[in-house]
C-alpha cells in the first residue's frame, strides 16, 4: 500500500488532505454555524454614520459626486468599495486586523479580537493580515479625524515624517482636500474598523451637525 499508486493517490493524496480539512476547516465551520454572517448594511452603525456624514460636509462636492447623500445605504456601498480598495492596494500586507491577547497588545490597540467581529460580509475573505510594518487597524475607527486620514493617505510623511508608508495620490483629485470616490470609501472603511465596540474612543466630540450650523 505504501508504495502503490492507489495508496499514494487515495490515502496520502485524498485521504490525508481531507483529514486535515476536517480539523482545520470543518470544525470551525461547525463551531461558528450559529453565528450569522452580517451584510454591509447590517454593520453600519451610528458612530460610522457620524463619520460618513462628516465626510459629506467636509468634502461636499467630492462626496456628492461619489455617493450622493449620506444615507445608510450609501454608507454600506462605501464600506464595500472601501474594503476593495484596502484589499487591492495591499494595505493588509503591512497592517493586521486582529489584536492578540499577548505582548501588551490590548494596552496598545484596544480590546482583544473576538470571533463575532469577523462574521460579516466585509471580512470575506478575512483581513487578518500576517505582517505589521504599520500598526494594527482593527481598532482604528474614531482615533483620527477624516481630514487626518485624507492628508495621511495623500502623503503620509506630512503627518508622520518617519513613516515608510507609500503615498496614494490616486485616491484624490490632485489635492488632499479633494478625495475621489475610492479615497472617500477607504476613509469610511477605516473609520468603520472597531466602531462596533463599546471601547470606541471619543477623541473628537461628536457634535450635532444641525446645531453647529446654527451657530
Amino acid at each position: 500500500m505504501f508504495e502503490s499508486k492507489g495508496g499514494v493517490l487515495f490515502l496520502a493524496g485524498v485521504g490525508f488532505f481531507v483529514l486535515a480539512f476536517l480539523f482545520n476547516g470543518v470544525i470551525p465551520m461547525l463551531m461558528f454555524r450559529d453565528m450569522p454572517e452580517q451584510t454591509a448594511e447590517q454593520v453600519v452603525n451610528p458612530r460610522l454614520m457620524y463619520q460618513f456624514t462628516e465626510l459629506s460636509r467636509r468634502y461636499p462636492e467630492s462626496f456628492r459626486t461619489a455617493f450622493g447623500e449620506p444615507t445608510e445605504e450609501n454608507c454600506a456601498q462605501a464600506l464595500r468599495l472601501g474594503r476593495q480598495v484596502y484589499l487591492g492596494e495591499g494595505c493588509w500586507h503591512c497592517h493586521s486586523q486582529f489584536v492578540r491577547p499577548v505582548s501588551n497588545e490590548s494596552l496598545r490597540f484596544g480590546e482583544v479580537s473576538q470571533p463575532i467581529e469577523y462574521q460579516n460580509e466585509l471580512q470575506r475573505p478575512v483581513m487578518f493580515g500576517t505582517r505589521r510594518v504599520g500598526p494594527d487597524l482593527s481598532r482604528q475607527g474614531g482615533r483620527h479625524a477624516n481630514d487626518w486620514h485624507a492628508v495621511h493617505f495623500f502623503r503620509p510623511k506630512t503627518l508622520l515624517p518617519d513613516s515608510p508608508m507609500p503615498e496614494y495620490p490616486w485616491l484624490f483629485e490632485g489635492d488632499p482636500s479633494k478625495p475621489n470616490q475610492r479615497g472617500l470609501a477607504l476613509i469610511t472603511y477605516v473609520q468603520w474598523l472597531g466602531s462596533w465596540l463599546d471601547s470606541y474612543p471619543y477623541y473628537e466630540e461628536l457634535q450635532d451637525f444641525e446645531r453647529e450650523d446654527d451657530l
Binding site: 493517490l9 482545520n24 476593495q84 484589499l87 492596494e89 495591499g90 492578540r100 467581529e117 471580512q123
Partner: protein, 492 residues
C-alpha cells in the same frame, strides 16, 4: 523502475520521451518571472528605507507590487520551472511520453496567459474598482468582488482567473498521470511525491480560492486561508522539490539513495503531518485555541520527519563529500537542503506560542519565508537548471566562473537576508511589547532594512550572472556537436 521491463523491452530513446524545447521554454519563462518578482521585491525594500524613486506612481505602487512579488515567484517562477522539470523527469522515470504533447503546449500557453493576466489585474484592477456595475454586482450578490487581488495571501489570483487556473492544474495532473499509470511495478520515490502532488495541488487551490471567497466567512475563512498558505508550500512546492531531489541526487552521485525505509518515512510523514498545521499561521487569532494547539503539535512532529529525510540524504552523500566542491549542481542541492533543515528547525521553535508572542507580525517571518522559497526551492531549481541547461543547449556553460558567482551571491545573499530579518524581527517584537511609540519600531528597523536591500541586490546580482551566462551560452558560440549528450535514460 521495473528491472525486468528494461531487460525485455528495448529502452526508448531520450528524444522520443522528452520534448526538450518545452523544457527550455518553461525554464526561460520561469527566469523571466523571477526577474519580475525580484524587481518587485527591490521596489518594496527601497520603499521601506525611504529610497523608492517611484513613490506616488499608481502602477508602481509597492502595495500592488507586493502581490506581483509573491505571485510571480509561486505561479510564475516555481510553477513554470517545476513544470519544465516534470517534463524532463517523468517521461525518463516512467519510460513513457506525457499524455499528449499538444496538451503540454496548450498548458504552457494557457499558464502564461494566467500568470500575465493575474499580474495585469493586480496593477489595473484596483484602479477600475470604482465602477457602478461592480458595486451593483457586489450589492446584489453580497459577495465582495475584487477586480484586483483576492484577499487570500498567496491566493491573490483574481476570482475570475481562479477557475481557469484550477482547470490548468487538473490538466497538468492528467497529462503526467498517463505515463505514470502506464509504468509497471513499484514506483520510485520521486513519483510518489509527484503523484500525491497532482492530487494535492488542485484540491488545495480549490479550497483556498473558493471557500473563503464564497462559502465561509470570518474567522473560519482565516482557518481555511491559513491551511491554504500552508498547503501551497507543503503540498505543491515541497513534494515537487523533494521529488526532484530524489531524482537528481542519485544521478549526480551515481549511487542509490542510502535508505529506502527512510524515504518511506519521509514521504508518509510529510503527507500525514504537513496538512494538519495550517492554523499555525494565525496563532492567537480568534480561531479556537484547541485547534491552534493541534497545529503547533503537528508542526513540531513534522520536524522529526524532516530530520529523517535530511539524514537519508547525508547518508547518501557519505564518502563523496568532496563532490560538493567540484560538482556545482550537487552543491546547489545540498546547500539548499542545509537551508531546508535550518528553516524547518526554526519552524519547530517559532511555532511555539512562547516564540509567537514575540516574533509574529515581525520581519522574522519574512526572513523565514525568504529562506524557504529562495534559499531552498529556488536554489534547488537553480541547481537543476545548472545541470540541465548544458544538456538542453548541447554545449557546456559559457563560464564556470559566472556559475560560481551565481551560487555564492545567491547562497550568501539569502542567508544574510535571513539573519538580518530574523534579528530585525526580535527587535521589532520587543519594541512593540515594551509599548514604545510605533515610530520607534520603524526607525529601529532602518539599519536592518538597509542591509536587506543589499542582501537582495546580491541575490539579484547572482540572478543577473546566471542570465548573462545563459545568454552567452545560448548565443556565444556555435553548437559543438554533442559535447554534452543527454545521459542514458533510467537512472534509478
Amino acid at each position: 523502475m521495473n528491472e525486468s521491463d528494461q531487460a525485455t523491452a528495448a529502452e526508448p530513446r531520450h528524444e522520443d520521451l522528452v520534448d526538450e524545447r518545452l523544457v527550455r521554454w518553461y525554464f526561460l519563462a520561469a527566469l523571466l518571472y523571477l526577474g519580475v518578482s525580484m524587481t518587485g521585491g527591490l521596489l518594496m525594500a527601497l520603499q521601506l528605507v525611504h529610497w523608492n524613486p517611484l513613490n506616488g506612481i499608481e502602477i508602481f505602487s509597492p502595495g500592488r507590487w507586493r502581490f506581483i512579488h509573491t505571485n510571480a515567484v509561486a505561479y510564475g517562477f516555481l510553477a513554470n520551472a517545476f513544470l519544465g522539470m516534470l517534463h524532463w523527469t517523468v517521461p525518463r522515470l516512467t519510460l513513457h511520453r506525457v499524455g499528449s504533447v499538444k496538451l503540454s503546449y496548450f498548458i504552457f500557453g494557457a499558464w502564461q496567459v494566467i500568470v500575465l493576466s493575474t499580474a495585469a489585474a493586480f496593477i489595473v484592477g484596483p484602479t477600475l474598482q470604482a465602477q457602478p456595475w461592480v458595486a451593483n454586482l457586489t450589492a446584489s450578490l453580497q459577495i465582495p468582488f475584487s477586480l484586483g487581488a483576492q484577499g487570500i495571501e498567496w491566493g491573490e489570483t483574481p476570482f475570475w482567473i481562479d477557475p481557469v487556473a484550477l482547470l490548468g492544474l487538473v490538466l497538468v495532473g492528467v497529462n503526467f498521470m498517463v505515463p505514470i499509470a502506464k509504468a509497471k511495478g513499484p514506483l520510485y520515490v520521486t513519483l510518489w511525491y509527484f503523484m500525491a502532488m497532482f492530487v494535492w495541488t488542485p484540491l488545495t487551490y480549490a479550497m483556498g480560492n473558493f471557500l473563503p471567497e464564497y462559502m465561509v466567512p470570518g474567522v473560519n475563512a482565516g482557518a481555511v486561508g491559513g491551511l491554504f498558505i500552508h498547503d501551497l508550500v507543503g503540498l505543491f512546492v515541497t513534494p515537487l522539490g523533494w521529488g526532484m531531489m530524489y531524482y537528481i541526487v542519485p544521478i549526480l552521485l551515481k549511487k542509490p539513495i542510502w535508505s529506502h525505509g527512510l524515504s518511506l518515512v519521509g514521504f508518509w510523514g510529510l503527507a500525514f503531518f504537513y496538512p494538519l498545521q495550517g492554523i499555525h499561521h494565525f496563532l492567537y487569532t480568534p480561531i479556537p485555541m484547541f485547534l491552534q494547539y493541534h497545529a503547533v503539535i503537528s508542526t513540531i512532529a513534522v520536524e522529526f520527519v524532516v530530520a529523517t529525510v535530511v539524514i537519508n540524504f547525508i547518508g547518501t552523500l557519505w564518502g563523496d563529500g568532496r563532490m560538493i566542491v567540484t560538482n556545482l549542481p550537487l552543491r546547489w542541492f545540498y546547500t539548499g537542503m542545509i537551508y531546508y533543515f535550518i528553516t524547518c528547525f526554526q519552524c519547530a521553535l517559532q511555532v511555539t506560542l512562547t516564540f509567537q508572542k514575540l516574533i509574529h507580525f515581525t520581519d522574522w517571518v519574512v526572513g523565514h519565508a525568504h529562506l524557504v522559497m529562495f534559499g531552498v526551492f529556488s536554489m534547488w531549481i537553480f541547481g537543476f537548471m545548472t545541470y540541465l541547461f548544458p544538456r538542453l543547449l548541447n554545449r557546456p556553460w559559457y563560464s564556470r566562473n559566472l556559475c560560481e558567482w551565481h551560487f555564492w551571491l545567491s547562497a550568501s545573499g539569502v542567508f544574510i537576508m535571513f539573519l538580518d530579518l530574523g534579528l530585525a524581527g526580535v527587535f521589532q517584537g520587543y519594541y512593540w511589547a515594551a509599548l514604545f511609540p510605533w515610530d520607534v519600531s520603524v526607525n529601529g528597523s532602518q539599519p536592518f532594512w538597509v542591509v536587506r536591500v543589499f542582501a537582495g541586490l546580491m541575490m539579484f546580482g547572482g540572478f543577473l550572472c546566471f542570465v548573462y551566462n545563459l545568454w552567452k551560452t545560448y548565443r556565444g558560440y556555435a553548437p559543438a556537436a554533442a559535447t554534452a549528450p543527454a545521459p542514458a535514460v533510467a537512472p534509478a
